[in-house]
Amino acid sequence: MITAVARLGAWVLHSIGRLGFASRFFVAILRYSGPSFARFWLTVREIYFEGVLSLVIICVSSLFVGMVLGLQGYDTLVRYGSSDALGVVVALSLVRELGPVMAALLFASRAGSAITAEIGLMKATEQLAAMEMMAVEPIARVVAPRFWAGVISMPLLATIFSAVGIFGGYLVGVVVIGVDPGAFWSQMQASVDFRNDVLNGILKSFVFGVAVTWIAVLEGYEAPPTAEGVSGATTRTVVTSALAILGLDVILTALMFRGA
């Protein structure tokens, strides 16, 4: 019993310590963002690796998700004679929820894990130590550009996810099933509010972007410099990011969409 309490205490202390380090690390990223932005091409380069190279998985996944939404949405709506509302269902589902959440989960799996592995391996091969010895701050040169690239890429990827998803819903709903295209688009236009739906969705994806890239760079920077250490850190990035995205989604949804 005492051992269990001691273990719990050690775990709590360890967790508080880690949270403290993560917070200080976040502050350090913000502190070194100025020098990093001064050479914005570093961030642009990372936007290519994290954002542009994620486009394929984002587009393909969102097309399928949109198609499934079209099928499922039609199947339910037709029972109530509301198949014309298919466009609204597909668009709201994507813009409010599935776009930001799915894009963030895919981003964490593809780009977040890559960021962790890259920084972890740079640490294991002493590249970060070499930078420090050259009087170059690794947080400014390596971490901050990757962090901001993720933060910038995430809302763009979520927006693209929603747009392609809506197109997938259109393909199934209008082209294949035969829902009236005028009703599909006009109802969507009338019911989707730019501020409440679109902007809130983008805000969600921004928050997810901060969370995922923060976790990814932190895990990479903290990874033990061994093959096992980097592998464990990569796994933790994906798992922690997924939990953070879903947890934050609950909070943000509760704050943003309270039946207004």
Binding site: M122, T125, E126, A129, A130, E132, M133, M134, V136
Partner: protein
């Protein structure tokens, strides 16, 4: 008297309160000289380099570099000091996403405001010095271990450091590459008028190029001297180390219970 570039006085260091890695280290690196830190793996040699580079702070004693006490420097002061240092890591630590050219140009682009044209000239001069001007467009994964070490050396001397530190520069190299690196270390040190510290356990190669050696064991300096004095020494540890004998003052076996009783005890159980 020679000017001292590095001076460690009564230095102690431990990663935590219970485990001391270094104890009572006194060490000097005179200007223009190459000093080797030798000892078995894990004896604390690399930790001394980290203390000199300011990566770690000494638990006790003082570490002075270019006359400045490392402990008294803030982050900016430390980075300013590091601009006068170069370091060659054990396996080169080249940036894997940059070409050979960009690796050598890295410190010049980061730490100076020189034009790209001038940087180009400097990079080619540094690469010429290590014999790899023709490899400027290669990526690190295309280089052999010896070539990678030479590129890292070119990068290390890019800013003409006053102090070069080499962490196991000879590890894992074939005899030709090993000789090349050793020769380059000596030539570049003399050409730049710099001072160098080599952390190594390669006795034969280092004895040929260094001016002074410190032997570290169990976190303490147990012997020091010029290569000739070390060769002539009758100290059992130095004899074992210099002549590469498995048994001697340093036992082959890690301390353990009696082998016979442990094996028979296991069989009986």
């Amino acid at each position: 008297m020679d000017r001292q570039v590095v001076k460690l006085t009564k230095v102690a260091f431990g990663y935590d309160k219970t485990r001391r890695v270094l104890e009572d280290i006194d060490l000097v690196v005179p200007e223009g000289k190459i000093v080797a830190l030798m000892g078995r793996s894990g004896c604390g040699k690399t930790t001394i380099l980290r203390l000199i580079g300011g990566v770690h702070r000494a638990t006790a004693g003082t570490v002075e570099v270019f006359g400045e006490d490392i402990a008294a420097l803030d982050a900016d002061g430390l980075y300013r000091l590091r601009q006068r240092m170069g370091m060659l890591f054990q396996f080169g630590a080249l940036f894997t996403d940059l070409s050979v050219y960009d690796n050598v140009a890295f410190p010049l682009r980061e730490r100076t405001n020189l034009s790209e044209r001038l940087i180009r000239d400097l990079v080619l001069m540094k690469l010429e010095a290590v014999g790899l001007r023709g490899a400027r467009d290669m990526m690190p994964h295309e280089l052999s271990g010896g070539m990678a070490r030479r590129v890292a050396l070119a990068r290390g001397i890019a800013l003409d450091p006053r102090l070069m530190m080499f962490d196991e520069p000879f590890t894992g190299l074939d005899p030709i590459s090993l000789g090349t690196i050793g020769k380059l270390v000596r030539e570049l040190n003399d050409a730049l008028g710099a001072s160098s510290i080599i952390v190594t356990h390669d006795v034969l190669e280092s004895m040929q190029i260094v001016d002074y050696l410190y032997f570290i064991s169990e976190g303490r300096v147990i012997a020091s001297g010029t290569p000739d004095a070390i060769r002539a020494s009758q100290d059992p540890f130095l004899r074992q180390f210099v002549h590469m004998e498995a048994q001697g003052a340093v036992p082959f076996h890690h301390p353990a219970d009696d082998y016979r009783s442990e094996m028979l005890g296991a069989a009986a159980a």
